[in-house]
Amino acid sequence: MLKIENLSAEITVADGAKPILKGLSLEVNAGEIHAIMGPNGAGKSTLAYVLGGRPGYEVTGGSVTFNGQDLLEMEPHERAAAGMFLGFQYPVEIPGVSNVQFLREALNSQRKARGEEPLSGGDFLKLAREKAALLKLDMEMLKRHVNVGFSGGEKKRNEMVQMGILDPAFAILDETDSGLDIDALRIVGDGINAIMRDPAKGVLLITHYQRLLDYVQPDFVHILSDGAIVKTGSADLAKQLEAEGYDEVMAA
């Protein structure tokens, strides 16, 4: 479904460009959930942004195909329409634009790009209400401006509500668990399972901690270090990391 081959990328910094990804390869098939763990600065968020096409993140080598298409050739909004969803580590606040308007524009833009009819206002609200309930986010929050005045946990739940409404084929979730209390973590975990656990869908979970993986069982766990995957294992690898730390596990 998603095939990353020998990917290299750099980011623009004040005094030029800094290489972050250094020959990363990874394949996620439909029906699989992969977790990527790794120490700070390993390139986890850079990988998410490169896959999401964020300006300033320059691919210098390798390839990424998504359902047979060259992902790197697509504009960010085209990637979304093709079924890719990026859950932000720091969801962006947009004053003056309501969540409902934002999401309706998003969903209908995607539907239009796929040659589908736009959803009516009533149908959209019904869908939004259903997904908000799934993530236990008050429907009133959806009427407010995008992420403005939301707590860290509310922003993350709002990301998952968005994912529920947009119903992507593939989700890259960048530290969706950070900033969540224990109850919210379970709600978000259940939400990810409900929305994305599907033989036709794939997930790339980027996380620092094993605890989210208690709720969302990964099929594979990868350790990312210095811009490349250095170790791949089963869900047990995450438990081992939690117990022993990166240095210990990577040295073994």
Partner: protein, 254 residues
């Protein structure tokens, strides 16, 4: 206020950002003409206007002098979307407890020069005023806001606020602002703020990541930005219409 039947030039402080060519060729009678409006004590008057003359007209200067009686209220919500030169000037004198509410948007490209000039005279105590101006410029256009607030010696408990923000969509566009506070009373609140920037790149990317095409994202962000100027329009439908009609000028050009 002295008025002479000569043409102002850009050497005049209040006209410093005006379009030189337009001024040079203008008809002095037209430029020196003031419309006047009296708002009786305790009553409300409102002006809602969209100025959008096309390429074929050289410009427009609209000057309005308003007197608001005690406890009265004057509201003006104005969009300037035309050019080459468009200037809306409002002078308001507030009696005791009166209020002036102003929302202005300049929105344009090419080499348009679009400006609001206000002079708010708090002549008596307890009057309030609130002005919000937003500029959206591209091409080589310019958006200006010159806002003077005068608070007379006995106009205690005056509460006056003025806020200007500009977004430059392209390199080459510009915005100017000059807040001017002249305060002779000692128990007053006068707030003013100004900022000039660009569209929030991260917000644009966030929208794109959800599938929103760049031109739609731009429109949504501009809508949110200029919405501030029309927040005080009480009637929801009137506000939406004002926003929609203003945004239409964005779609034509971007």
């Amino acid at each position: 206020m002295s008025e002479v039947a000569t043409l102002p030039t850009t050497r005049d402080e209040d006209w410093r950002y005006a379009d030189r060519d337009y001024l040079a060729a203008a008809n002095p009678d037209a430029i020196n003409h003031w419309r006047t409006l009296d708002v009786p004590a305790g009553e409300t008057r409102r002006e809602v206007q969209i100025h959008s003359s096309g390429e074929t007209t050289p410009g427009m200067v609209d000057r309005l002098r308003v007197h608001v009686g005690a406890g009265g209220r004057f509201e003006a919500f104005v969009t300037i979307a035309g050019g080459k030169y468009q200037r809306v000037e409002i002078e308001v004198t507030l009696e005791e407890g009166a209020h002036f509410e102003f929302g202005g948007v300049t929105l344009g490209g090419d080499d348009k020069v679009q400006e609001f000039v206000t002079r708010t005279i708090h002549a008596h105590p307890n009057a309030t005023s609130n002005q919000v101006v937003r500029a959206v410029q591209w091409g080589h256009s310019t958006g200006n806001f010159l806002g003077r607030i005068e608070v007379a010696r006995d106009a205690q408990k005056t509460n006056a606020a003025q806020n200007f923000r500009a977004i430059l969509l392209e390199k080459g566009a510009s915005a100017n602002t000059k807040p001017e506070l002249e305060i002779f009373a000692d128990d007053v609140l006068c707030a003013h703020g100004a900022a000039i920037g660009q569209l929030d790149e991260m917000a644009r990317y966030y929208m794109a990541s959800r599938g929103i095409a760049p031109h739609v994202a731009k429109k949504l962000l501009v809508q949110a930005f200029i919405g501030d100027a029309f927040v005080a329009v009480e009637d929801d439908q009137a506000r939406d219409r004002m926003l929609e009609e203003t945004l239409a000028f964005l779609e034509d050009t971007l």
